[in-house]
Symmetry: C2
Subunit: 120 residues, 2 copies
DNA sequence: GCGACGTGCAACCCTGGAGTTGCATCCACT
DNA sequence: AGTGGATGCAACTCCAGGGTTGCACGTCGC
């Protein structure tokens, strides 16, 4: 399930929904800490069943946050920073955009305060 | 509902869950575009009821993404970039952390390849 | 004061998704 | 070959939360 190149909007959407779940975030932390681990091992460090972990990993994989590497009868997952970084940049530019708009609106409001508008 | 100073973890959590909902993201875009608007006006530009918008605004407010300003009988909301920016930074540093760990692990793996490990 | 507009509150559906259990399947190892 | 460990698949439960409706409350304008 590492295919399908989505547009930036869908990418951001999937990353955000993936990151919204606390269990998934814990999973990511575990993965980042331990490198390449199987779902079964990950489940041992979490208060949920292996199946739940597998489902979460599928979501994270779809969001591009992790990748699965099959080795014989076991599948090891590892973290993939690119998608996270992309979303971080997107978010940061969004914040900058808001800042610009806010500054502009504030400037307009101040101008209108000492200069009564033409509308009654 | 603009009080309670949460730790960084809770802050990130609330921002992420707030951003996970598509309707809430549309709300934020509307707010960023139009400046200071009331919930009723916002609801006109969305396919949901005013009450739904109010609930979403409450969530966004709790996450620190918007603020409410009461003026007479109407309440105008506006976007607040600080919380978004903070989460963006957090996310970015997390990605950098993953990158470091990945590089380290890859380096170890390569070293172990030409140098058979002591475990049988 | 009184009507109208805008909000706040509460109770209520209903769907998505997080989690579980049980079993089938596959692969390594002896 | 056969056994045990690891993954995959499917059906099922359960509840948080997104959405709605109806009404009460406050505030502006006349």
């Amino acid at each position: 399930m590492t295919e399908e190149v989505p547009g930036p909007a869908e990418a951001v959407d999937s990353v955000l929904t993936a990151l919204a779940d606390p269990t998934r975030r814990r999973l990511l932390h575990l993965l980042a800490a331990r490198g390449e681990v199987t779902a079964t091992v990950l489940a041992e460090g979490l208060p949920v069943s292996r199946q739940a972990v597998v489902k979460h990993l599928a979501v994270l994989d779809a969001a591009g946050l992790v990748t699965a590497r099959r080795a014989g009868r076991k599948v090891r997952y590892s973290v993939q920073p690119a998608a996270l970084d992309a979303t971080a940049r997107w978010m940061s530019s969004l914040a900058a955009d808001w800042d610009r708009r806010l500054a502009r609106i504030k400037r307009l409001a101040e101008a209108a305060e000492q200069d009564p508008p033409p509308q009654p």
